[in-house]
Symmetry: C2
Subunit: 764 residues, 2 copies
Amino acid sequence: MPGRKIIKAKNFFEEDFIESLAEVPVEKIESWGADTKLNIVGKPIPRVDGYDKVSGTAKYTFDIKLPHLTYAKILHSPLPHAKIKSIDTRQAKKAPGVLYILTHENCPPIKWWRVTFLFDPHVRNEGDEVACVVATSEKCAEDALKLIKVEYEALPFVIDPEKAMQTDAPRLYDAGNILGGGPSKYARGDVEKGFAEADFIVEDTISTQVEVHNPTEPFCSVVNWDGDQLTVWDSTQTIFGVRSSVAGALEIPESHVRVIKKYMGGGFGSKLEGGKYTVIAAIISREIGRPVKIYFNRKQMNLNAGNRPDSVQKLKAGAKKDGTLTALSHYSHAAVGAHPSGGGCSWPLRAIYKCPNVKVEEYSVMINAGRARPFRAPGHVQGTVGLESIMDELAEKAGLDPLEFRLKNYAEVDPVSNQPYTTKRLREAYLRGSAAIGWNERQNPAGSQPGPVKIGIGMATQIWWGGGGPPAYVTMKMSGDGSVEVLCGTQDIGTGTYTFMAQIAAEVLEIPMEKVTPILGDTAACPYGPTSGGSMTAPSVAPAVRDAAEQMKAKLISGAAALLEVPETELQYKNGVITSIKDAKKTIKIDNIVRRMRLGTLVTTGAREANPVGYQINSFGTQFAKVAVDTETGKVTVLKIVAAHDIGRVLNKMTLENQFHGGIIQGLGFALMEERVIDPNTGLVLTKNLHDYKVPLLLDTPEIEVIIVSDHDPLISNMGVKGIGEPAMIPTPAAITNAVYNAIGVRIKSLPITPDKVLMALQG
Amino acid sequence: MPGRKIIKAKNFFEEDFIESLAEVPVEKIESWGADTKLNIVGKPIPRVDGYDKVSGTAKYTFDIKLPHLTYAKILHSPLPHAKIKSIDTRQAKKAPGVLYILTHENCPPIKWWRVTFLFDPHVRNEGDEVACVVATSEKCAEDALKLIKVEYEALPFVIDPEKAMQTDAPRLYDAGNILGGGPSKYARGDVEKGFAEADFIVEDTISTQVEVHNPTEPFCSVVNWDGDQLTVWDSTQTIFGVRSSVAGALEIPESHVRVIKKYMGGGFGSKLEGGKYTVIAAIISREIGRPVKIYFNRKQMNLNAGNRPDSVQKLKAGAKKDGTLTALSHYSHAAVGAHPSGGGCSWPLRAIYKCPNVKVEEYSVMINAGRARPFRAPGHVQGTVGLESIMDELAEKAGLDPLEFRLKNYAEVDPVSNQPYTTKRLREAYLRGSAAIGWNERQNPAGSQPGPVKIGIGMATQIWWGGGGPPAYVTMKMSGDGSVEVLCGTQDIGTGTYTFMAQIAAEVLEIPMEKVTPILGDTAACPYGPTSGGSMTAPSVAPAVRDAAEQMKAKLISGAAALLEVPETELQYKNGVITSIKDAKKTIKIDNIVRRMRLGTLVTTGAREANPVGYQINSFGTQFAKVAVDTETGKVTVLKIVAAHDIGRVLNKMTLENQFHGGIIQGLGFALMEERVIDPNTGLVLTKNLHDYKVPLLLDTPEIEVIIVSDHDPLISNMGVKGIGEPAMIPTPAAITNAVYNAIGVRIKSLPITPDKVLMALQG
């Protein structure tokens, strides 16, 4: 295997490093420089799937219809914590149209999260799966659910993480409620010494709420067995992840499972793994010999789709008179629900600023509520609110402008690894962003503007990982008419993957974009592609597309050389035509090459390059928020967000701006309104629908200005592109929080910043 | 492009050579030797799709159901030759459920065969397409067909090829009725001199009938537009051929068309190109915005599915006293129908026997009848009947045993190219086959057995091309559980391609076959694979599978070396486990390698090797028939066929024997019963259904003994396999013909050998 070497690859969701072997293409292709004239890449090109989506012909998982399709509905636990004493499905089984009922009594003992099972008689949160009915219609299935009689033994529950951490709290698991048995810790330098050296110290507690996943498209699977081969259509960010989860649960070879996802209405981290619902549908489908459709309604989404865990962050920061940070400490706990992933949020604090002494201690605490799971920049959104609040507080105490204070502590190398960055253009982002928002017009002191409606300006900084993460392979096939198919087993979750793949192939091969058909989201058809998460799709897939296209170009030139009998070095490739430099009559179109080579189609396989060793790859950005706070009603209106970011190369100006709009609006929702509320007396969720659980609407949308300060990152890949999925959202809530402070002169320390909190803060 | 070179590739259906570039794998893998112990390849393993097929869960094109599916029915010309004066679809359009009607008046002017159009107002045979109705149900579409009023101007027609060759005959095309304007000619040596040197000369005219394609599964397409992307499910031997034909007709990029074929009920050459029906369905589907299903009934199949053209062969052969052939001449004409491919049948005569002087002249003549197209060994089946009849006649005249006579003229090198064969084991086939049938018990002289039922034994020889033909690529993907998907854009048309692909992958990787999932028949999912025709699927695809699997093994060993920190040369691969030779504790399973390498899936792409240059690659065989002829009824019963063949390596003893059974039964049908009959007065086909057009039934099936004299061909590929699709059928009719002569002592010179012909021959 020439050209391969061992590199380090990151597992972004564990914030951990795992040694890995990755394939490195034999020849590294240089990144297009800032001066390379590109005709398609970078341009504001409407998405190639735009027509399908606006015309309604786009097929989402929900739209899959199969002969003899049946419908599954799940009975969920109505209690936050209980044991199932008995389930009586006899009457339900006799109901019209019912084909099958699965419960823990007749389900194979399939292990799920840790010690739990697919159907577990010990339910640990409202919404845990108790039974599944499959019937010939949705109505029949829903009616039958009501006929299932379940006797529960209610158990004591706990929903407050501080209580859950106590030793006498009700336990969700025998091993206790603290995930991993104790805190996650990090330290560098000597934090006590650092605080001793400080001239100014601030301490504060900042808390953020639980934000629930509510993608436009709810969870949905359609499953079909064909002999011993299972096809799963699923709304997922990870077709290969679903495949391995389903195959593992059913104990069948992965090659017997095909997972397909063509279009998707968002994931944001909620669809990063296979769901129980898919496995349940597959089991029943195999029993009844008919395809099964299963999907979540909004109530189920609000209970079970997962969430960004809350955070209680006790922060302490110290600086010298000149503004130099001397120490940062961070203690936090997060209520991560009943079947969670971790809730750490300290990475921004560890990585954004140059600070020699840092100490972190974080607890992820299980409670009897819906599970935490990755949510657009897991940990970073809430961690940035904490960090950037305390930075503003410290700047004020030191009498420094918040922007100057940040520039003072600008990290020239990564403070965690001490490695250099591949590129870092945060300074330019600060300068251009602050100019665009009118930083100098901010109130000084905060809250000093007269009148009931006060305008405020705030800012925050963002860091995220920027290199390609998971492996990505692209197969390119050129047909006899010069049109190409570009296959990658990744997903377009709404972000524009289809479009940039077509752009890059068309750019390299100098052919019209309509001659390029990207094919994604099919484990059988496509080579392995990455999970769509962690802002890693573009940095992982784009280089593989270019690699495959450059190889294709080389093959075409080689073919032309043979057919024209001209040395390759004397050939020129232009607009899909290859011509002898010395004799212009010797010329051939690429489609003629493919046809005359009689190879069927011309095939190449591209791969993403390994990340460079010895460098830290990050995206950086800053956002500035301008808000208006009505001190009589407490209502906060976001007037404008300026987003200035270093994200490497822009692949498509239009889809890039779309992505920023989405991230900023989602950040606004987190700052001002979204919140899961649980009744402490019953342990039941009070915000199970989109009336009670508020998400931002069109009228909440501020003016948004996107400034990209980077052109490309020459070190990271042949495309020099970093991702933008999470960076777009990370700093928004923190910037809004700081802007509100600047408007009213009082800091709201608990998100979301709802009118009642603003009024209470103003009152005292 | 290292490792590539220009080679010659054959276009088997044109019996022509075209210069081509083909990819040659960089490292040639040696063929497994005769002494290599194989555990899976070669064994009699039931086909992997057996369960699906016998249980009825296998989805054929006809089984594809889509939401809002509509149904197309075609109105065919009721006359053999006419011009459409007018079409009135007004009433039909108003009929219940009718959605669209396409005729030559509203169809885009899409060119089809030569000067003809998709819908052509000049119809040239009974069955030509006149209109297509698409409706919400089949019944509605059929009812509406009857409401279309067509006024025809009947034109003079011609169905007799001898008449059609005359200058004053009715012309199908302005350019005349002889395809290509004149005969196809071939000559070597000096045939007049050869006949002058002969001691014995025989001359005779042998004719064969038109045999109609009647695969179990009739033609069928289901088409669906998704935006500007077209998906076509089609019963086809060539998904890539259909794709290019449909894209070309619609003038859209090939990458916008996806053709899928999972299971198929036979093709035999009738499905080697895209059909008009598919394009018609796609046009209407685009107009109405709904998917369309179209399929042929048996009547349509008998009129339009194509056929093996008839032949009238005037043969002359000369030999010396010792049996040495001195000259062969062959004049023939074939009635190839209205939109045909060629009808030459002389290849066996040119290539089987050593004969210095050969002359051939062949006419393909167009008539007002259904088209000729490739049919299991195009030309060879009828040509072998002619050649082997005249060989038997000459042997008898020279007083030689027919087998001795053939051995006397055994070609040690290819008589056409003078190149050596890669392997030729025909001599062994003659000897073992003759022993198995009991050659010495044949009647001598012919027809000398007393009593009304006379037993006869006859033989015939077969030659066919044996190397890989078209390009073939195989993508192999190994998942984290060690299971693999093997993708190739070829088809399993019922011959066992799925099964041998799984066998080869399992053999190389030493894993159970159930961990291998072959994926075929999808232009989007699969790399380019060959048309399933010309007995070339196995020789083309099998080497690519082995290549991909060997590369996979190498990647696994390389990964194990890195993970175990042991040099590759010190590792041993056994049953999917890699172990250090020096330290058995250092061991790792292949699934662990894939998981720990964190490459998603491990991917390799294999390709078939180029055929060796300077060699002739052929399969060879001989069949011996034992028949009983009832001289009172004229009925011929085939008692036994011994098939002794050199076909290189056997991939699967069970599917190989299946293939021979099918070929021999089809050959028996050609010899004794199948025949298209046209009424000379009306030009209309009298045998439009399977009652009037007789095909062999289970009770006609003889005892069949298959003897394979080859183990492998070390020169042709890493698998050493030749194809068996056509070889299985080629010699059967000739062997039966000669056996009937041996039984009754009178030669039937016109196939099929029906009872009336036998009785007439015996009487006169």
